[in-house]
Subunit: 353 residues, 2 copies
DNA sequence: CACGTTTGCGCAATCGATAGCATGAATTTT
DNA sequence: AAAATTCATGCTATCGATTGCGCAAACGTG
């Protein structure tokens, strides 16, 4: 049926504006305008071309369009280790929210390791309109590349280091909140299990927690950990469990839920009960940490809001608005589980009396 | 320094072959050939242009290249719910292995839900060279689109339904292996916790396990579950724990590690010990299931090998080789944890005596 | 009925990179 | 020394979609 010389049809050749135009007996520019709803094309012709296009299953070539239009509709995504459930959740939401804005994600990197130069360059090769970095580590190579080429850049869950805006949970506020909670509940010997030594999230959470503990007149928390993995949490938990009961911490704040899960796994294997022998709190609000068997008391990051703001920031800058970089902090939400003893008279936030 | 009329430099304008050519005093085609290492260009000129390109930080526009070249270098990725750690691992490996082949991943969909038409169409709009579907669910819409436009398609962890090749773990062999293991260890009342009712992986694992159990002369396993989530596993575990001890199953095979974790969490909360009161085995080899507190006995999917084969299949078909669709099955590896009683004299595979 | 204005659409250039063909110079061959 | 090659590079069309400009025909008005 479809004649081959028209350039489309069952031959596997894809339809183009040109072949559609030949078939419809109009110019290619008319096809283009008709499909984009240009009012200069008569409603009659527009309908005819639209019908033809959907009949033959025409799909515009975005690559060609972006060549002239200047925007690719692609957002580069650099994501941290997705074995961390927080990043997994972030990834999923990032895809969904991007689709709602008509963007597609070019998955540039996923994992803990550093980003290779060749990988980072693909951001430029594919002319991404913007870049979203979601990783607690410091991918300065990507940041440098984006800056050099004027690609808007937004970081989520990590504060800006050299270039680009950032959206983050207010980690200090979270750390302070958790310190307050533990101190008011009567804990006296506190510990912190920290994540990566160079990650801003871990540092801020740890510092704020320790500062508030000291401000309350208690001894400086002992610091354990040093990497944001389950194994590191497990090791720290084993260390804690091995301490004599009279000097052992009675409250532990972990810089992430992943660490908290490791800590709980270890101390429980060593026969300690949570929270009777030891309170554990975390930060992130990762799904597996909140449910059984952990039921962790934690500060959940508002991922939807964070990504929404991040995309807003990107969109502004993609439109050419020449704004200064900004840092947006959003407050996390306390999720009260059963992993920590609570202050007397503490009212469950989800359960207002 | 950089003169604006040359089209590149600090003005934010990006360098192109044309602007590089003007700057170098040669033709654009010469720049293109020089950068691609065409031997027809003298070594001298080639070196000069290469030096200039790296000096100004030129990056080729892949979009333009693919317009003439016909290939975009993009692989569409459709991935299942990444809160399932198996998919998270798959995602991470998929990115790494794709980069090794010089491909980039266009993240089309991530999650459990169905794929929207507009989302699926982006596969065609961006002229992906191939498509990788990693999901136990049946994204037939994507398959149909790929078939209609001749886009090579490979599925991982799901068997082909209508169109495209597939690479999968040999789920039946795994189910049989686990049934053997439990029966030989003396379990007599077996149960299965299955995943999604329409997913091939869950169905095959369940059927093979049940078939072998019956072949061994034991009663047909009771079937629980019906969705591949932690919550479903937890619910099934609660059901099991609620049964009277003399009729309660003494061995449970879960169609995924995610389910197995849910089952173990539930039965432990109800005071049952694993494996003393109940053996639990899973399938997948997900990282959190293998470590504390689960230490699950499971059949690990060979993800690296699976993805390697999947990409091989894609690559062949992208080169235009007109091969028939094929189904590749790879054997999983038994990982022996502590979640199940073992047959007497069972030799730990990682620990040959 | 003549002239100006809108309406509707085609022509051709453009985006950036690539590839076929052509061209002039340098080199080899007879 | 004239002819035949080889070599290095330039010219130009091409991929597919978009867009500024131009040009008819249809419309309206005086």
């Amino acid at each position: 049926m479809a004649d081959k010389s028209s350039g489309g049809g069952e031959t596997g050749e894809r339809w183009t504006v040109a072949s559609l135009a030949r078939r419809a007996g109009v110019a290619a520019s008319t096809v283009s305008r008709a499909l984009r709803g240009d009012p200069r094309i008569s409603a009659e012709v527009r309908a005819r071309i639209a019908a033809l296009a959907s009949e033959v299953g025409y799909t515009p070539n975005v690559l060609a369009r972006s060549l002239v239009g200047g925007r690719s509709g692609l957002i580069g995504l650099v994501i941290g280790p997705v074995e961390n459930p927080l990043y997994a959740a972030l990834l999923q939401k990032a895809v969904t929210l991007a689709a709602e804005r008509g963007w597609r994600l070019l998955l540039v990197h996923a994992g803990a390791g550093p980003i290779e130069q060749a990988t980072a360059e693909s951001l430029l090769q594919y002319r991404v309109d913007g870049c979203l970095i979601t990783s607690a580590e410091l991918p300065s190579r990507v940041a440098a590349i984006c800056r050099a080429d004027g690609v808007p850049l937004v970081m989520v869950n990590r504060v800006a280091w050299e270039h680009g805006s950032a959206v983050s949970c207010d980690n200090r506020a979270g750390g302070t909140l958790l310190a307050d909670l533990l101190v008011r509940a009567g804990h006296r010997r506190l510990a912190v299990v920290r994540g990566g030594l160079v990650t801003s999230t871990s540092r801020e959470r740890t510092e704020a927690f320790a500062a508030r503990v000291e401000a309350e007149g208690l001894a400086t928390p002992i610091i354990l950990g040093g990497a944001n993995t389950h194994a590191m949490g497990y090791a720290a938990g084993a260390q804690i469990a091995a301490m004599p009961a009279d000097t052992r911490p009675d409250g532990v704040m972990c810089a992430s839920d992943l660490l908290a899960m490791g800590v709980m796994d270890a101390v429980r294997e060593h026969g300690l009960r949570v929270p009777e022998d030891l309170s554990v709190v975390g930060m992130d609000g990762a799904a597996p940490a909140v449910r059984a068997p952990y039921r962790l008391t934690t500060v959940a990051q508002p991922l939807d809001a964070m990504l929404g703001r991040a995309y807003d920031l990107l969109e502004e800058r993609m439109r050419g608005v020449n704004r200064a970089d900004e840092l947006v902090l959003l407050r996390g939400e306390l999720i009260v589980g059963t992993s920590a003893r609570l202050p007397a008279g503490f009212v469950h936030s989800q359960d207002p009396a």
